[in-house]
Symmetry: C2
Subunit: 304 residues, 2 copies
């Protein structure tokens, strides 16, 4: 039992965002309220984006206002622009998460903005949030590679981290948006980030698209990272790889860390009980391994 | 590019063993011959077990005699007893792989033998193989945990390694038979094994049952291990976890190591081309991630 790790749940935002079927608001609220009881450090509740852009999250206000806040849990929302920020602030969120891409072609494809344009918009959002006490996190997509451009220079990632901090961002999430990262690269980028910005709250956001999700989390952990995004059941597909896994799975990640003797703060059995409701909720199987195999301490009756 | 790693393919033995449908001998032979052209260090071809015990491998002689040997590739077979050893030697195998369990309840369930009984049988097999020049490897199942007994003491694993070496075993494979290992445990056991027996050829055999397969491989690599078993497509189910993944996937493992800048000796594109034939060959989808998602350097056309 060494240092404390922080697990941040993204299923109701990153997971549900890509679900074809609308999850009823009361189901989202019930799920978030159950998740809040498991010891997760943070929950990314929803996205205050245009209901037209992401219809599956069109109930952002209703969900954010319907949940019962558990002290100690941070409730975060994704905010794409000033209007979204105003909507989020009206709901008394704890944190807003801004998203930009490290590579311009991904930024244009995903957000219709270059990195420069994203940074300019962040400045405006941060100005609007002044005095609210809300924590400002920025997620840097394609920090480990871009599906259009390929390799993203590490110097570029570092430059963008610095510029984000310069405009008032307090926490930075390094995102392996399409599952391109490898453990050596993760170790390098994380070590450098922690060395250069020791006061910044860094989160690592991995996808399991190429099976390396937990290996990358392990590499980040070894480099000194203590915060991880993860999605219940491993929900959240990758638009560029149909059939492939999406986000790393919360219960699989917690299970690995727990088996390693690390303190995630999460009650794994409670989390698994919530995860078990997910396939019915979304109407299809989910990628998570522990839901299928059980925890490592699962015992079988001896053969006769 | 640092040290050379060795990837050992087990699909035609460990993978096909658990397939319900018999794979025709000529298909097995063709698959092995294609695999031998990819740069894999070793191929576990088949098992010289009783055709009644494992009907899917009842064509061991035919397959072993039908393949075209590629210089530099080691052709290994599983041998459960003296009779199997005699059959294997008659086929001029390069290596025989003996299997025992670190935990007696798993040994009884899987082999109907305690560890003591397995060691005694190994002595007889090794005596029969004397003078043949065949390399003797022993696989230690449940080295990281037993589905019946739970934790297996690390001291027990060390004791069994020593006893295996004492009776003439030259290589030892530490097997996470049912996917119970975690990276911290793997690092501990591997470091200790390499420190105590620096001259012994150790192989690590992981399953991805709980999503930790590649994380465990990474932990073993970091501890100094350079040999890994893996199964094409991730084939090879776990009888204790229906629906869960089996062996770690060869092409996913090679992909991870290659992305890390390590030399596996394997031509990944060739290996992927062979892996792509597997779903048709076995008549069902396989768990491998890279087959679905493509390599990390896969590029997509930019959005218009």
């Amino acid at each position: 039992m060494s240092k404390r790790l922080y697990i941040q749940e993204v299923v109701t935002r990153d997971g549900f965002q890509s679900e074809a079927q609308f999850i009823p608001s009361e189901d989202k609220i019930a799920l978030i309220d159950r998740l809040a009881q498991t010891g997760l450090a943070k929950i990314e509740v929803t996205s205050f984006t245009s209901p037209k852009a992401i219809p599956s999250l069109r109930d952002a206000e209703e969900v954010m206002r319907g949940i019962r806040r558990v002290p100690g849990v941070e409730y975060c929302v994704l905010v794409p622009n000033v209007k979204g920020c105003e909507r989020a602030l009206a709901c008394q969120v704890d944190e807003i998460n801004l998203v930009m891409s490290a590579s311009d072609s991904h930024g244009m494809a995903n957000l219709r903005m270059t990195a420069e344009q994203s940074l300019e918009q962040f400045r405006q959002i941060i100005a609007v949030s002044q005095g609210s006490g809300v924590f400002i996190n920025a997620s840097l997509s394609t920090a480990f590679g871009c599906p259009f451009e390929g390799q993203v220079a590490e110097a570029r990632v570092h430059e963008l981290i610095q510029r984000l901090l310069d405009i008032g961002v307090q926490g930075v999430t390094l995102c392996d948006t399409t599952g391109m990262a490898d453990p050596a690269q993760v170790a390098r980028i994380c070590r450098e980030a922690l060395a250069r910005w020791p006061q910044t709250q860094f989160t690592l956001h991995f996808h399991n698209t190429r099976g390396m999700g937990l290996a990358n989390a392990l590499a980040a952990l070894d480099a000194g990272i203590d915060r991880f995004d993860a999605s219940l059941g491993g929900l959240g597909g990758c638009p560029y790889a149909p059939g492939a896994s999406g986000n790393i799975c919360s219960e699989d990640l917690v299970h690995m860390f727990q088996r390693m003797g690390l303190d995630t703060g999460v009650d794994l059995d409670k989390l698994l009980a919530v995860a078990a409701t997910l396939p019915t909720l979304v109407g299809h199987p989910v990628p998570g391994a522990i839901l299928k195999a059980g925890k490592s301490d699962r015992r079988y009756a001896k053969a006769q």
